[in-house]
Point group: C2
């Protein structure tokens, strides 16, 4: 027991200090760690494997809608970045500049891409001539770099991994449809695969992406009540394409503007998985995205037949496409349990001499620690059901948490009271003025607008929570990462 | 016919000007093109899809041997790059330097990784303490940057995509075993999946990777007789790890050095696929790696029933996991044929009213243009056999080409004569002196040592082709990309 306690005691309790708990889990579950390159992460096997599963799953969804993958350079000439004014204003303060190639000073500086709208537009300008060349529905899986001052593992680092989709279309309607389609895919992916409930909708003017006409966002609530923006889909209209002079000839030989979208989801989402599902024993991974779904832990491994049976089960489960590992190390079973829990592996299979006599194993759920005896002969049928139940329960519990921490306010006083006493989001009506938006944030101690939520709700006769003038929208407000 | 001719005439004939043919194929098959970032490529959907297939296939092979994927930063602090002397000497002239983050001048310059040995060693130095922490068998799929002066699509560009595997082990023997294992995987992958025959073996001292004890290489012969180094696996001994002070305690608490390997394969290999298999009609892709394996081209598509049948076949083949597309555009069939050939799609399915009456289609092989009538009912069984035959024949033809262009020489005169009259490689014995190696290259007009080939051959009583002293090795010599 000494060992187990020591292992578990390595992490701070979630309710004592959420930030310290988060850092401890990231470290002890060996997901990533800071490198000697300041502000940049080493993504370790446990963390990167989660990202690989996210990639595979999302990539399949993208391709089913006609997305093609490409890869554009990591470096952008300064003159290219400068072409769209709002864009450069948004990104210039946070890009890294390459000044030398070998010993030679460059004639023009190159920045490491903070995002690739300018590169895509530059390429399209050369490629698009006729309506036959449209639409182009492209995506890349890559890393980008932004010179952040303060960084936190997964949540904010100078270099991070993501996918960035970029598309152009012949009509505004088609581009808007694509923006919404990708927003829809993010919602489905995050709720179904990551078991994370969302508040989703459009961003306000002031929170939009630099250069976009509309930004759609999915926002998740962390266990400390703060929001994490988890994916965005932007409609650009023809601002960027016109700045880059991308035009096409229609069937009647008339010259037209094209309409653009971009959409991205990053390794930030791993931070959301940790902060939505984790507990005081460590990480809790949703079964559908877990790199390992079950860990076989032999009890009294030295007794005759135990290891043979354990390996037999390993092979059987692998054949049934259940992601299974065995911990055959010399550590104590208790230590192995604690380790499996820290890593967030959704189930463990305990198997000892008595279990073998009864032709059964004990399946222990990571999320609620329920112990489920399962006949060995039925294991490959029962385990997938248990895993799906965990997936469902994890979503439902997170949804209950979200619902329980989503408040409504009609006046600034109410809002301030909730903000000072509770954690979570606040839904309140808003007149649409940027000034009110800013003042709400200041006076509530940081509750910024997260989004105009999708769910229709009658705004008629509602007043702005700040100025009490006629309201135009409901807004969900929250502190954010 | 006018259209088809025009399409095909876009590319130079392979025998007229091989370099121009190569550039034309890359462009017309829309694989990649230069970006506004000098020396860097845009990898377009057709090119990137080949790389994705290579990734998936290789990654599966890696993981079956216990490789775990990670991701380390793209930037390396100058002091870190400087830690291993041979390494920095090899790479310093060709790295790009970041001098500024936003408006702030950096205290220490950062280079964009040309390769990541130093980052891996820096990370391991923090992680490895005991024999329990070994081995670490890691890989990353990423991009690297080298400030090349002259560039060519896929073959040499400033930024390129690759995988770089890095491992450390408790013993020299285990590390050598891993070096050879990955070398073996490259050989199997390239011969079996890409249908490219190889000359494989160790590099000479002068051709080794900066800092390595041994470098294993796979070398392919392009259609112009030149060699393309297509993948390398390096054994580092403990040079790097000692420079970074990576040590471990064994079971008896004694401190030991660790032994390191690294191994990489890049998008260069796409250049090899083009230059080994391509012909005057464009690209020819091996079926196992082709993103599209068959293109359905309807003939007289306006006739009743043709399009219905074509789509019916499309669905049937997709269900059978054959990568199938249909060209339902308004172009002429002849133009579509030329386009499918240019893209290197291994087969096309021609289907018109007469074929439908006979309940058959015509399958046309891309590699030899053979026309094969196949009953529609048997198509999902017959087509995979045809594809496998293409794969086999492509390998065999490339192997015959390699064998026919692999010469032997006993004297420098013989070597010079072959070098001036033939294209291909020359096998010749060598004494082991770097001076002879260099002079052979100069006097033959560029035939450098490619490798000491694996196949055992009795070197006894053989003389060095240059100095006629006792030979130590056979070497395969060739001009290279």
């Amino acid at each position: 027991m000494a060992n187990e306690k020591k292992f578990v005691q390595k992490i701070t309790s979630r309710n004592t200090d959420f930030a310290a708990w988060y850092t401890d889990v990231v470290k002890e579950a060996k997901l990533c760690e800071y490198s000697s390159t300041k502000g940049c992460l080493n993504y370790l096997p446990n963390g990167y494997a989660i990202w690989e599963n996210i990639q595979q799953n999302l990539d399949k969804r993208f391709k089913e809608t006609g997305v093609e993958n490409v890869y554009l350079p990591m470096l952008i000439p300064e003159s290219l970045l400068n072409k769209e004014k709002e864009h450069i204003a948004g990104f210039a303060p946070e890009v890294a500049w390459v000044s030398h190639g070998g010993d030679e000073k460059l004639e023009e500086r190159l920045c490491i891409r903070p995002t690739s709208e300018t590169l895509f537009c530059d390429l399209w300008q050369k490629q698009v001539k006729s309506y036959r060349d449209l639409p182009l529905i492209w995506n890349q899986w890559n890393s980008v770099l932004r010179w952040e001052k303060t960084t936190r593992p997964f949540l904010r680092s100078r270099e991070f991994l993501w996918q960035e989709g970029h598309t152009i279309h012949a009509t505004r309607e088609e581009a808007i449809k694509r923006t919404e389609m990708m927003f829809q895919i993010y919602q489905e992916f995050v709720t179904n695969e990551l078991a994370i409930p969302l508040i989703s909708g459009k961003k306000t003017e002031s929170e939009k992406f630099a250069g976009a006409e509309d930004t759609y966002t999915i926002e998740a609530m962390m266990h400390d009540g703060k929001a994490l923006q988890s994916g965005t889909s932007h409609f650009f209209g023809n601002g960027f394409p016109d700045a880059f002079n991308i035009k096409y000839l229609d069937k009647e030989n008339n010259l037209h503007s094209v309409y653009e979208t971009s959409w991205g989801l990053s390794t930030r989402i791993i931070g959301a998985i940790i902060m939505v599902h984790g507990d005081d024993s460590g990480l809790v991974l949703p079964p559908r995205i877990a790199p390992t779904q079950t860990m076989i832990i032999p009890i009294a491994a030295h007794k005759e037949g135990v290891m043979d049976k354990a390996y037999e089960i390993l092979e059987k489960l692998k054949k049934a496409n259940i992601k299974t590992k065995i911990d055959a190390s010399e550590k104590s079973p208790g230590y192995k349990f604690a380790e499996q829990e820290m890593l967030g592996i959704p189930t463990r299979i305990e198997i000892g001499p008595k279990d073998i006599d009864n032709n059964q194993v004990i399946v222990v759920r990571r999320d609620n620690r329920e112990k489920i005896p399962v006949a060995i002969d039925n294991l490959e049928k029962e385990l997938p059901i248990i895993l799906e139940n965990i997936q469902k329960d994890m979503y439902n519990n997170a949804k209950i948490f979200l619902d329980n921490h989503l408040y409504e306010a009609n006046t600034l006083e109410e809002m301030k009271e909730i903000a000072s006493e509770k954690i979570g989001f606040i839904k309140a009506a808003w007149c649409g003025s940027e000034k009110c938006e800013e003042l709400i944030k200041t006076e509530t101690g940081g509750f910024g607008s997260r989004c105009l939520p999708l769910e229709e709700q009658n705004i008629e006769n509602k007043k702005c929570v700040y100025c009490q003038k006629e309201a135009k929208h409901y807004v969900v407000w929250g502190k954010s990462y």
